[in-house]
């Protein structure tokens, strides 16, 4: 195997398990435990991506979730394609197939890089200034081209078959981050006895310990300490350890979102295992131990492949056994880079120079480097690099006082390590709305005032040293759990000075030099300065004008440097420039993980009635009404809906039809004050409704508009059986509860939803009584005993029933209410009994036609939330003598009695064969051109088979006064003449309800 940059020994990867993988079609070898980035680096592949705007060749600069450059797509199969993954987080598995992005035709030769040549003419925000002429060219030319150039990876093209799970979890202490601070926090918190969850985004717990070499804790090498600590935590029943688990969002009241990646690292995952699990964790206390992120240096040409963060280089070396180069230049303003230089030196890498910005670097790490004979250059800035697809030289210049540099020296190298210091990860703290404080000494923002039950510990609050981090973490864990524990950690490690540098380095390279601040979005110091020059002073404007910090890394490496540059140009201290808002997610979260199981049939509950399966077996076509499935029509043979509905309508009127009305909302209103309550809620009067009688009820909102309707039966003096529309059931019950609980708590009445207790079978048609007769016990079906709008209780085929004599079709009709479990059997019994009488099943569509023929409204179709009872012809229902009911006062508002309000009327098209479209508009005169004067619209429109012509209901301005008038309905094929007619088209005398 040829992996030229792999060390001979060391690293946490498994040298016994070689793994082959491909990148851009070429196969390489790595080891289990490698990331794609470490394995590519080991193979000497430095070029991993192209930048967003200029298509500059880019290599990896980081080793974790802060990586801005090395974005790749990973394709497991055609349907499992994921773009924009960080190579630093993609774990290697046998056969992994990955490709680079945002380049064509190849990563090494990318046509898009002409943008780089054009870069002087396409600075930040250039698109706001051009592409305006000629106007049409924007749509046809400019925008399509801008769009085509943008974007990073490409979208998946097929439905993702993988499973995703959500779960809720609770704990006393949640620890975010499994580095020394987080581990210590968990150790302490666990002793409090409560539940502790520790989540870390990496593949292994340990944080910075995973790449530490020489430190000892409690006298043990840190590796050993780590292993022991993890084992002891894992053994505790109250501790849950989550790895590959990113805490991505901190929400109100200590709710933290965590995504756990379960299968992406496996070569052949079990299809049943979820790809990711999203944890919604409600924690009593949170300890944030999220560590810190290394800051790059901002210098000209700082983006060539081979230039990377010093601590990332250490990670590659110590954790993955990969040398970042063979001859390395280190550029730094921080001690941490010396640790990297020392480790690399020990591993046999040549350190060509350590260019330190500081005039007098000192301290144990620096001394150790001196002792090792490393070539330290104090007061030295890196001012450029060269190289095509990999860096080949670094340009080092001595610093001569304020912002000036002396003559440069070119140093050949194949890698540059840079470090500006570490930025504490305050992302989650800030998301929690905790207040940050600028620390002038550490040159960083640190957590100050907490907004939630939360505390930060370790590097994320500026406690960078290992000893400090352990102690701080332990104290935080103890405090969070309330455990009275204390512990000290004996640490031996070389610790550096935590201070670093921010902003651009001095250089002598002129205005066109490109010193990148935001790598992924190609934002340079020049862009930031341009934004300031153009008057953008707020950092929020600068962010949006230049797009700095808006890339997929959300500025993890760039935000503080951008602040530094801007502060410099504005001559303001950094805290006065401000900070952009940290938002969730910390790192991008898969849509599928957020959606979880809610897909297909589990997207929303599918509510089906007890009779649903029967209808399905008969070939019914269903429609969605709120969560319910309702049978819409029952086609026979090759019938389409129109044909089926005509047949169903005729059958009902000629014989009898059977209809599943189970979805109607039902509320049992019970108690001595039931009638009083009904009086207050509904527009109707209820006091005089006799027991065993029914009434059509209309419900308004307090603003006077009709919100629901339904038949109400009085079962007993103190008991009403109220029905509502299918979709309105929860709304009506909620509204009633609101009034009852908060306005009239003194009323002795209670509400219970009985929607699902009853299956409801509507039997409508002249033969209805005949069919029922043989089935019913204990109920006299005669018109005298059970007249229209009455009810009786008895049995039907032995099953207790509430039988309503009601009609929504205008025919003799009954609604059989039986307990749900018996719904299907009773239905089948009625069905069988109806066979000799031409019984036909019908669906909602026929129901709609039948009621329209009778001029009955459907709330939500005739009404649209802006109709009063009077508008839809229901004045007769309003209890005029009642002093009050919900909505009454509003009905007295001026607008409610305007003569030109829309009112419900019937319409006949002059040509009875023409069926208007529902929603079609009405005008008074023909031949209008837009904007027309619209006076109404069609709410319902059908072909009426019994009438042999079309009918329509419409809301027309001043409609009732227009009876007989000719109006028009504009349509794409011309104005359709219509005549205003009464709303009742069929059996206006209402004789048929009597059979």
């Amino acid at each position: 195997m040829n992996a030229p940059f792999r060390t001979a020994a060391g690293g946490r990867h498994d040298r016994g398990r070689p793994v082959s993988f491909s990148f851009d079609g070429k196969t390489y070898q790595g080891f289990a435990g490698d990331t794609l980035a470490s394995a590519l680096l080991a193979n000497g592949v430095c070029l991993m991506g192209r930048s967003f705007k200029y298509h500059r060749p880019r290599g990896v600069i980081a080793a974790g979730s802060d990586e801005p450059n090395a974005l790749v797509s990973v394709q497991r199969d055609a349907a499992r394609y994921a773009p924009n993954l960080r190579a630093t987080q993609v774990e290697l598995y046998e056969g992994l197939s990955s490709e680079s992005q945002n380049r064509w035709p190849s990563l090494a030769f990318d046509v898009g890089s002409v943008n780089n040549l054009a870069s002087p003419f396409i600075p930040a925000g250039f698109y706001y200034k051009t592409f305006m002429w000629p106007r049409k060219a924007w749509d046809r030319f400019y925008e399509p081209n801008i769009r085509a150039a943008a974007g990073l990876g490409r979208s998946p093209t097929e439905a993702d078959p993988d499973r995703y799970l959500n779960r809720y979890a609770h704990c006393e202490v949640l620890v975010v981050g499994g580095g020394p601070a987080g581990l210590a926090a968990a150790l302490a918190a666990a002793q409090g006895g409560g539940r502790v969850i520790l989540a870390d985004e990496q593949t292994e717990l340990g944080g910075s310990l995973l790449s530490a070499t020489d430190a000892t804790i409690d006298g043990k090498p840190s590796d050993d300490w780590l292993a022991e600590t993890l084992a002891s935590l894992a053994a505790l029943p109250n501790v849950t350890l989550l790895k590959r688990a990113t805490a991505f969002g901190y929400f109100a009241h200590n709710m933290i979102g965590v995504t756990e990646r379960l299968t992406d690292h496996l070569a052949a995952p079990n299809a049943a295992t979820p790809r990711e699990r999203l944890w919604n964790i409600r924690a009593k206390q949170v300890v944030l131990a999220a560590g810190s992120i290394e800051r790059p240096l901002v210098f000209p040409d700082n983006d060539r492949p081979g230039i990377l963060l010093a601590d990332a280089a250490r990670t590659y070396l110590n954790r993955y056994g990969v040398k970042p180069g063979k001859r390395v230049v280190v550029a730094t303003g921080h001690d941490g880079a010396y640790r990297a230089a020392l480790d690399l030196h020990r591993a046999g890498v040549e350190i060509a120079a350590i260019a330190d910005l500081r005039p007098n670097p000192t301290g144990p790490l620096v001394e150790a480097a001196r002792a090792a004979g490393l070539p330290i250059r104090p007061a030295c800035a890196i001012t450029g690099t060269s190289g095509g697809l990999r860096v080949i030289t670094a340009r080092l210049s001595p610093i001569k006082g304020a912002g000036q540099v002396g003559p440069a020296q070119i140093v050949p190298c194949d890698a540059v390590l840079m470090s500006g210091g570490f930025t504490p990860s305050v992302h989650l703290f800030s998301q929690s709305r905790g207040k940050l404080r600028w620390d002038q000494d550490l040159l960083t923002y640190l957590p100050d005032q907490s907004a939630e039950q939360e505390r930060s510990a370790g590097a994320c609050r500026g406690r960078f040293g290992l000893a400090e981090a352990l102690a701080d973490g332990f104290a935080a864990g103890a405090a969070a759990s309330g455990a009275e524990v204390s512990r000290t950690f004996a640490v031996e490690a070389l610790e550096g000075d935590p201070r670093g540098v921010i902003g651009a380095l001095p250089h002598d390279r002129g205005v066109n030099a490109k010193a990148f601040v935001d790598w992924q979005n190609d934002v340079t110091t020049k862009d930031l300065k341009l934004a300031v020059r153009e008057g953008f002073q707020s950092i929020e404007h600068i962010k949006r004008y230049t797009t700095t910090g808006m890339a997929t890394d959300q500025g993890k490496t760039s935000n503080l440097n951008a602040l530094g540059v801007v502060a410099d140009v504005l001559h303001k201290p950094i805290p006065e420039v401000g900070l952009t808002t940290f938002r969730m997610p910390y790192t991008p979260v898969t849509f599928g993980a957020l959606a979880g199981l809610a897909r297909g049939d589990l997207f929303d509950p599918v509510r089906a009635t007890p009779i649903h399966d029967w209808a399905a077996e008969q070939g019914a076509v269903f429609e969605d009404v709120s969560l319910w499935k309702r049978a819409r029509y029952f086609p026979r043979g090759s019938e389409d809906m129109e044909a089926a509905v005509r047949r169903e309508c005729v059958s009902v009127r000629a014989g009898c039809g059977i209809f599943d009305a189970s979805t109607l909302g039902k509320i049992e209103v019970v108690g001595p004050d039931a009638a009083e309550f009904m009086n207050r809620m509904y527009v109707n009067a209820w006091t005089k409704l006799g027991v065993g009688k029914c009434r059509y009820g209309v419900l308004c909102r307090e603003d006077g508009f009709v919100t629901d309707d339904g038949v109400v039966g009085r079962i007993a003096k103190d008991r009403f059986h109220v029905t509502t529309t299918t979709g309105g059931a929860p709304r009506v019950l909620g509204m009633m509860e609101d009034y009852l609980q908060t306005e009239w708590p003194d009323l002795n009445v209670w509400l219970t939803s009985t929607t699902e207790q009853w299956a409801v079978i509507a039997l409508q048609g002249p033969n209805a009584r005949r069919i029922l007769e043989g089935l019913v016990e204990g109920i006299d079906l005669s018109p005298e005993a059970l007249p229209h709008m009455s009810l009786a209780e008895g049995r039907i085929r032995g099953v207790p029933t509430r039988l309503f004599r009601v009609s929504f079709s205008g025919e003799l009709g009954f609604e059989i209410n039986v307990a749900a479990d018996h719904g299907r059997a009773v239905w089948e019994a009625v069905w069988a009994a109806g066979q000799p009488h031409g019984l036909t099943p019908y669906g909602t569509e026929t129901m709609h036609v039948l009621r329209a023929e009778k001029g009955f409204i459907i709330v939500g179709q005739e009404t649209d939330g802006t109709a009063t009872p009077d508008d839809v012809g229901l004045t007769w229902a309003v209890g005029k003598a009642k002093p009050d009911f919900v909505g009454k006062r509003s009905l007295a508002r001026p607008a409610m009695s305007e003569p030109d309000r829309k009112q419900l009327v019937g319409l006949y098209t002059d040509d009875g064969a023409v069926v208007l479209e529902e929603g079609a508009q009405i005008v008074a005169t023909a031949g209008q051109t837009p904007p027309m004067r619209l006076i109404g619209h069609v709410t319902s429109s059908y072909y009426s088979a019994v009438l042999g012509r079309s009918i329509a209901l419409a809301m027309v301005s001043g409609g009732r006064a227009r009876l007989g008038e000719s109006l028009y309905s504009p349509s794409p094929v011309g104005d359709i003449p219509v005549k205003v007619v009464p709303t009742v088209f069929y059996d206006p005398e209402g004789a048929r309800v009597n059979g």
Binding site: H253, A451, E737, Q741, T742, E743, P745, P883, R889
Partner: protein
Amino acid sequence: MLLITCPYCGPRPELEFSHGGEAHIARPEKPSELSIEDWTQYLYLRANPKGLHAERWRHLHGCARFFNALRDTTTDQFVATYKAGEPRPTGGAA
């Protein structure tokens, strides 16, 4: 997702609740006698403070009771929750 303390059931996740708008707006005894201005106030005018807000919640998927809460709309932190009918608690900086 907020954590809301139902006065009956204790702290519960927001998913179990429905929000009911401003609290302490009693329906007038005799709406028909109200002036149009007063009725409009009752119907539509709601406090929309930036700061402490007395609001109604219903523990819809719990005990189903309406109750009231004092919440700071600049932080979403609850200062108190209390049963319907009880007076708005005094003071209570967030």
